[in-house]
């Protein structure tokens, strides 16, 4: 009987301690959760904000080439120069870099222009082209893309073939002579100084611009046809850079590769700076508003949780605890909560920023290591401030008043 009562008392004690711990634990969880939410929003938004110019800048490349590089004087651009240019700009900044060689050819005795290019790079450069059929590639060089305008004039459809004729590089065309029959004239056209080839239509290009009047073919195929090595009339570059960076780059190109003459496309660079500036300001302001509100809300949650401990603190003081001791305890708790919640939030925030970036831009995002100490420090400050400020008032009051009053 006695042992029974003894057992029930011990059970009661264990239950009380456990209950108090559990009640305390649920509060701690709430506090850590509040801080972690705040830290997630802080680190997530700041990460996104830092990456926005780069990421959106790449999206603006869908407007096409923003730097046109022309040869200086009469010379043409060789493949070696193109390689040097690519190296100078740096691979990470280049979205597309397509050399173009323009060649006049005859189709049905009418003049047309073939643009020889690196079709893959041209596709990267000009994502806004609407191509019915498919883009050409270097695997099947005899099928080419024609502009919508040409396709209409010549009545070409996908899969159709057409014959092009022209004069080889460095040769001169001879005028048709009237004393020869049409057949003989045609034979002369087919002779050594001339070339002819049958090309198939694999794509029809619509842009609403001048491109609709060109035929687009692989540069090497065109070079082979006209019997010449690679010489480009112009290089269209799509580069991730704002107007300032582009003009620096232009100056560097002119300095290091004097045979080239870079020209920034003002319409694109100026407009991009305006729009991108607005978008960045938008994200900055949104980030600021979200952060301020989040901080305040974390602060209030913490304050609410600490306020209830006024009685406990007053009791401690009544039992003889020094102000410094009580403050130290609260400080330690605040630091611990800020540390745990902040650390949790940094990684959740990065995970969030990564998801956003993958969803919106289809690219990963750079982790900002500086955010780890920044986030943790911010939230330690917030928790400590939230713990100490409401309790401070208690310190100056007589414990009896707090303990007596409700």
């Amino acid at each position: 009987m006695a042992s029974n009562r003894h057992g029930s008392r011990r059970r009661m004690y264990v239950r009380m301690v456990a209950g108090s711990l559990i009640r305390r634990a649920s509060r701690l969880i709430i506090a850590v959760l509040a801080i972690a939410i705040g830290a997630t929003i802080l680190s997530g938004l700041v990460t996104i904000y830092y990456d926005i110019p780069e990421q959106l800048g790449r999206e603006f490349r869908s407007y096409g080439a923003n730097l046109i590089v022309l040869p200086r004087g009469e010379a043409k651009i060789t493949r070696e120069t193109l390689g040097r240019l690519r190296e100078l700009v740096g691979a990470s900044k280049v979205v597309g870099m397509a050399p173009y060689r323009y060649q006049t050819v005859k189709i049905n005795e009418q003049p047309y222009i073939i643009a020889g290019t690196d079709l893959h790079e041209a596709e990267l450069n000009s994502p806004f082209w609407y191509v019915e059929g498919s883009w050409g590639d270097s695997a099947d060089v005899s099928s080419v893309m024609v502009g919508h305008e040409i396709a209409q004039t010549l009545g070409l459809k996908l899969g159709d073939s057409f014959m092009v004729q022209g004069v080889k590089y460095g040769q001169h065309a001879e005028a048709s002579r009237q004393d020869l029959s049409a057949e003989e004239n045609q034979k002369r056209d087919m002779a050594r100084q001339n070339f002819h080839a049958t090309l198939a239509v694999r794509g029809i290009v619509s842009t609403g611009g001048a491109e609709e009047g060109f035929i687009f073919a692989d540069a090497d195929m065109l070079d082979g046809l006209i019997g010449d090595t690679f010489r480009a009339d112009v290089i269209e570059c799509s580069i991730v850079a704002d107007a300032g960076e582009l003009s620096d780059l232009s100056a560097r190109i002119e300095h290091e590769i004097p045979e080239l003459m870079p020209r920034a496309v003002r319409r694109l660079t100026q407009s991009q700076d305006i729009v991108l500036g607005k978008l960045q300001a938008l994200v900055l302001l949104v980030t600021a508003v979200v952060l301020i509100i989040t901080m305040i809300s974390v602060y209030t949650t913490m304050t609410a949780m600490v306020a209830e401990r006024r009685r406990e603190i007053a009791l401690k003081k009544a039992l003889g605890a020094e102000n410094r001791l009580v403050m130290g305890e609260l400080l330690g708790e605040g630091v611990m909560l800020g540390l745990i919640g902040g650390a949790l939030g940094v990684f959740l925030g990065f995970e969030f920023a990564l998801r956003v970036s993958l969803n919106v831009f289809g690219r990963g995002i750079n982790f900002q290591p500086a955010l780890i100490p920044l986030t943790i420090a911010t939230f330690i400050i917030i928790t400590v401030a939230a713990s100490i400020i409401p309790v401070r008032r208690v310190m100056d009051i007589h414990p009896a008043i707090v303990l007596k009053g409700e």
């Binding site: 407007y63 609403g208 305006i274 978008l279 994200v283 949650t301 969803n359």
Partner: protein, 424 residues
């Protein structure tokens, strides 16, 4: 009794209730601001993207693009023109309100110091009143925001002045204020160079003058070769792409949806209906890219909005949980006095809901304020207030308060009065 208890709690616990209300205010204002910005951002960014210039060009159906390629423009090659009288009809189409700016262009060639140069006649600015009474202010100036000008822009009726591309000006060693004589056929006229522009494109070797001056010089009264149009459009989807191929392939329902949506192809279609012999084509470089940027920006804002809304929802529900658990002693006493679980739950819920509603209303108006601050700072214009935000925020707030109360309620129902009153 019930309401008296609630009123008492609200007054007695006003510190804590104010805290909850304050957090609700913050959370709701954040969500309201973000949702309004998110819903308005498409329109704002769309307008910003107009700095890229025209996204539609209109030309005569028989005037081929080919002439551009060989530099053979002018009489004899493309002798098909649109009528100047038709230009203002652009504002009369179904989506006329979406047409922000437009300018007719008349291209031709004229002799300058013995060499041939391209001249373009246009409306540098145009101020007029439409038959509908609407005031119209447009012109090329709005379509060439990227031009770097030395000197001045041409004004509306400045028929004796021209603007020159900077390449052409430096070739001919001409400066602002110089006088030039242009000849075309038998016509000849003297002009003053009022401004020199840097376009960074092919326009840099052209001469720009007012439309009447060009029409007189080229002997083409009342004619224009192209019209550049800048319109607010909706990004293309599958329907728009299908329609762009051939509007007749659509079913009547689809056709109506397409016609009544501001797709660039629908606007082109409507322009063709009012411009005699005109063919309107989207400039894909501008039209397509606009869509890309718009979609990305909107998606970004949606995700940021979702994040901040989740964040504030969690913060609110967290605080509610915390504050209810704090009051366990008081609620334990109620239980000890014989209150049923449901009565206590109802009491807590009613308190929290009243606080939440009060905070929500204050927060909504604060949020609208935030949205306007963002709109004014970034875009310099007000963001339209979307009514549906009220509903969305109200539903979210209701669910959040409920969700925040759930752990507290579960805790309360499990509460043993003796333990609570004894412990602590």
């Amino acid at each position: 009794m019930f309401w008296r208890m609630i009123t008492k709690t609200l007054i007695r616990q006003r510190g804590k209730m104010l805290m909850i209300a304050f957090t609700v205010v913050l959370g709701v204002s954040l969500s309201t601001a973000m949702m309004n910005v998110m819903l308005g951002v498409g329109d704002k960014v769309n307008r910003e993207l107009k700095v890229y210039g025209a996204n539609i060009t209109v030309r005569h159906k028989d005037a081929a693009l080919m002439s551009d390629l060989y530099g053979l423009e002018g009489q004899g090659v493309s002798d098909k023109f649109l009528r100047e009288d038709d230009v203002l009809k652009l504002k009369s189409i179904f989506w006329g309100f979406n047409i922000l700016d437009f300018a007719p262009m008349l291209d031709g060639r004229a002799g300058l110091n013995g060499s041939e140069v391209s001249v373009v006649g246009t409306w540098p600015e145009k101020h007029t009143t439409l038959p509908t009474g609407e005031e119209l202010h447009t012109g090329l100036k709005a379509l060439r925001t990227w031009w770097e000008i030395s000197g001045e822009w041409l004004s509306e009726n400045d028929d004796e002045s021209v603007m020159m591309g900077h390449l052409l000006a430096s070739q001919n060693n001409l400066h602002v204020g110089d006088k030039i004589t242009l000849t075309a056929g038998t016509q000849s006229a003297a002009f003053t160079v009022k401004g020199i522009y840097n376009d960074g494109g092919s326009s840099d070797s052209k001469i720009l003058m007012t439309l009447p001056a060009a029409q007189k010089l080229l002997g083409l009264p009342g004619r224009v070769s192209t019209i550049e149009v800048s319109a607010l459009t909706t990004p293309d989807n599958d329907l728009a792409r299908k329609a762009a191929q051939d509007p007749h392939s659509l079913s009547p329902d689809e056709y109506e949806t397409w016609y009544c949506t501001a797709y660039v192809s629908a606007i082109c279609h409507q322009i063709q209906e009012v411009i005699e012999d005109g063919v309107a084509k989207p400039v894909r470089q501008v039209a397509e890219s606009e869509g890309t940027i718009l979609n990305k920006t909107t998606l970004l804002m949606v995700l940021i909005t979702v994040l901040s809304s989740i964040g504030s929802a969690l913060a609110i529900s967290n605080l509610i949980t915390a504050s209810v658990i704090e009051r366990s002693q008081e609620l334990g006493l109620l239980k000890a006095l014989g209150a049923h679980n449901w009565q206590i739950v109802l009491l807590v819920l009613a308190e929290v809901m009243i606080t939440g509603i009060a905070g929500g209303i204050a927060g909504y108006f604060m949020g609208i304020g935030f949205a306007q601050v963002i709109g004014q700072t970034v875009f310099g214009s007000y963001i339209e207030i979307a009514r549906m935000v009220i509903l969305i925020v109200a539903v979210i707030l209701f669910l959040v308060t409920l969700a925040g109360s759930v752990p507290a309620i579960r805790y309360l129902t499990a509460l043993k009065p003796t333990e609570v009153l004894h412990g602590k």
